[in-house]
Amino acid sequence: MSQELVILVSASPVKAQVHLTAIRFIEQLIKQQVAIRSVFFYQDAVTVANRFICPPSDEPQLAEKWQSISLEKQLELQTCVAASYRRGIIDNHQAEELSFKANNLHPSFKITGLGQLAAAMSDSDTKLIHFK
């Protein structure tokens, strides 16, 4: 079986170049027909999934860029549940649980457990690439 890559991003979106490098890297991988198993956001990187982030218009719109690569390449963008809730990224389920009026999760991202990352790493055919 051919090798698949797991992409881990842990840098805050304030460090935009880390996210942009990850996106460019994924684009090149796909051009070279390298399979990507999953894209996982951990630590401060999860805040990129906050749909209320409003960067200045002349700066990179990271959530939109992630959304476009996700749609174009059929990649699921997974964010760690504990890291997300710790940083105030709330999906619909958690919003209802806590009686919040709204969630703030960008629709292109999905909150999942850290187990998703560990499961992907557990496959002997996968290699982890960490953008920090």
Binding site: L8, Y42, Q43, A82, A83, R86, G113, L114, G115, L117, A118, A119, M121, S122, S124, K127, L128, H130, K132
Partner: protein, 119 residues
């Protein structure tokens, strides 16, 4: 053969939640039968100093957390010898169960790992 994952912690205790998130990843990887090496370098060594009054800074005792990891099949807690020398922390003040390895040995350990995650 088990997947080997090395988790490198270089941030000092109580400065951020890096330690907690590193341990969380280690625990989940161990639950998936991966062999997890926790490697402490640079200021990360301060997480292993015993007798810290974590409660006074509204945090949890990191040494107690580390002591419990063997029950979750994380047996290898490693300190880089050169970092220990440069931080001037006395060996006797550290958690007993740690292994001290040189930078060269840790490099070798990293070469042999399937995955490497830095915190």
């Amino acid at each position: 053969m088990s997947i080997k994952t090395n988790i490198i912690i270089s941030q000092s205790s109580f400065s951020s939640c890096e330690f907690k998130e590193a341990i969380d990843l280690g625990l989940v990887c161990a639950a998936f039968d991966q062999v997890v090496n926790l490697i402490f370098i640079d200021s990360g060594i301060t997480n292993l100093i015993t007798g810290q009054s974590a409660k006074k800074v509204n945090d949890k005792n990191h040494v107690d957390i580390l002591k419990g990891l063997e029950f979750y099949d994380i047996d290898n807690i490693i300190i880089e010898q050169e970092s220990l020398a440069s931080t001037l922390v006395e060996h006797s003040r550290l958690l007993e169960a740690v292994q001290i390895k040189s930078r060269a040995e840790i490099n070798q350990l990293n070469q042999n790992a399937d995955h490497l995650v830095n915190f």
